[in-house]
């Protein structure tokens, strides 16, 4: 019986701890927004973070996009040709990438490549007292360190997702048209007639933008909130990747059910 009580108490404290952190994260987002003005007045700081989150993630995003496109091409062709509609390969590849795979997979890669790096950087700055030192030099770490990293991620993410989708479509084209020999005209024209700009492309971009906000917020928050020791920072990095992945998939479900609910 006391075991059960202990269990309940432990469960309760875990839940309250999560809720407490959620509240803190929300307040943290407000603080970032308050201090964002300075970030946009000094684009040099922002450029560094776009470079850090975006340019450094380019290779992994583009290569992964290409491979996902190649696989989609092979799998899609295999399935579609059973129904004699292999010309629809372009539609299949483009729709799955633009609607789902582009934002989601790019988001997951972004979280593990850039998000973890941001958490590590901020966490180590905290562990080595750099943030405190900055605060003592009358430079607000929220404005100087956190906000630029947040906005760098938010700007980089949609661009990375678009690149991922583009490389994926290119990969599908490579497999379908170049290797298998699906008619090129049908590949593109079917794609264009079925993929709608507002319905598919724009919603995909909105998704990637939302994922960018979520991942960037989680990354800077976990870094800033990490326990300033080697172990604490490594835990924070793990939490960034895990929480981001969960957040992306959960948000994807919510956004999809809103966007594509219509007939």
């Amino acid at each position: 019986m006391p075991k059960l009580r202990e269990l309940l108490v432990a469960l309760g404290s875990r839940v309250t701890d999560r809720i407490w952190r959620l509240g803190f994260a929300a307040r943290f987002l407000c603080m970032i927004l308050v201090y964002s003005g300075q970030t946009f007045l000094r684009p040099q700081l922002l450029f560094r973070e776009i470079w850090f989150s975006g340019v450094l993630s380019l290779i992994i995003i583009m290569v992964s996009g290409l491979f996902v496109g190649l696989v989609l091409g092979l799998q899609g062709y295999d399935t579609l040709q059973r129904y004699g509609s292999s010309e629809a390969l372009g539609v299949l590849v483009a729709l799955s990438l633009v609607r789902e795979l582009g934002p989601v997979v790019a988001g997951l890669l972004f979280a593990s490549r850039a998000g973890s790096a941001v958490t590590a950087e901020i966490g180590l700055m905290k562990a080595t007292e750099q943030l405190k030192a900055m605060d003592m030099m009358a430079v607000n770490p929220m404005a100087r360190v956190v906000a630029p990293r947040f906005w760098g991620g938010v700007i980089a993410m949609p661009l990375l997702a678009a690149l991922f989708s583009m490389m994926g479509v290119f990969g599908g084209y490579l497999i379908g048209v170049v290797f298998i020999g699906v008619d090129e005209g049908a590949f593109w024209s079917q794609m264009q007639s079925s993929v709608d700009f507002r319905e598919d492309v724009l919603n995909g971009i909105i998704k990637s933008f939302v994922f960018g906000i979520a991942v960037s917020l989680i990354a800077v928050f976990e870094g800033y909130d990490s326990i300033p020791t080697a172990e604490g920072v490594s835990r924070a990095i793990t939490r960034t990747v895990v929480t981001s992945a969960l957040a992306i998939l959960a948000l994807d479900f919510v956004l999809t059910s809103f966007m594509f609910r219509s007939l």
Binding site: Q130, K132, A133, D135, M137, A138, V139
Partner: protein, 270 residues
């Protein structure tokens, strides 16, 4: 004379999560002097520095800097005050992603609109003062502990502060670097006309350079005086500290229950 004190601490109490850390501290730091705060590890010295810098709020009592109560300042005023403070952190806390030169230039760039040529001259002057002008292109990870401490010192004095705070400036340094840092602290204080406040537990080195010493234990001031007064004192605490005896008024053991009872108790889980 109160006007002579740059920093004045009155009846300061501070507790964190129901744990009392500072109890009724009264201290005065006259302008132009180097004052040391000494005591064992964990006696609240670093907390005291953070209270002076306004990074923490006192539970009761006041910290007055330059005639203004720190915890009553708004955000802008507090930042204005911090611009005139320099702080040397325990391990330097250099920004690891930028070079030595950029570290020293950081505050100048953040707070002034000076041209790059002028900043260059200022940075070189500050680095020259700590003897590391030749190292300005290095990155922080290429520096030894002593050099990093000196770069951090150059960074802290970049804006010619009125108050310098040193958090354990001697920790982890070889005797040579230790002497260098000690002399720098004294010289820079006199050259800048600043007031210095040093938290340390390195007695021998600080006795040579400071004007006044406060001894703290368990969140209280237990002894104070000039180095000469303290050497002559019969106070058992000061005596223990000065001659580094293991047990005395400062107990060797962290407060614990009965030893034999602890040994007999079976741990709940292996």
């Amino acid at each position: 004379m109160p006007a002579d004190n740059l920093v004045k601490i009155s009846d300061l109490n501070f507790s964190y999560e129901n744990r009392s850390i500072l109890n009724g501290i009264n201290m005065e730091f006259p302008r132009g002097k180097v004052v040391a705060i000494m005591g064992g590890s964990g006696c609240g010295k670093t907390t005291l520095l953070r209270l002076i810098g306004g990074q923490l709020r006192p539970s009761s009592g006041t910290v007055t800097v330059n005639g203004r109560v720190v915890h009553e300042m708004g955000h802008d005023e507090l930042y204005g005050m911090r611009r005139r403070m320099g702080m040397l952190f325990q391990f330097g806390a250099l920004f690891t992603d930028i070079s030595v030169y950029d570290n020293v230039a950081f505050q100048i760039r953040e707070h002034t609109d000076l041209s790059e040529e002028l900043i260059h001259d200022l940075v070189m002057m500050k680095l020259n003062a700590v003897g590391l002008r030749g190292a300005h292109t290095l990155m922080p990870n290429e520096l030894s502990g002593g050099m990093a401490r000196r770069v951090a010192l150059a960074r802290a004095i970049a804006l010619d502060p009125m108050l310098m705070m040193y958090d354990e400036p001697f920790t982890g340094l070889d005797p040579l670097s230790l002497g260098v840092i000690g002399q720098l602290i004294r010289k820079l204080n006199d050259a800048l006309g600043a007031t210095s406040l040093m938290v340390t537990h390195d007695i021998q080195e600080s006795m040579l350079i400071v004007d006044y010493i406060y001894f703290m234990a368990e969140g209280r001031v237990v002894a104070q005086g000039t180095p000469d007064e303290l050497r002559a004192t019969k106070d058992p605490f000061v005596h223990q500290f000065l001659y580094a005896e293991a047990d005395g008024p400062v107990p060797f053991h962290y407060p614990a229950g009965d030893y034999s009872a602890d040994l007999l108790r079976v741990p709940a889980r292996a």
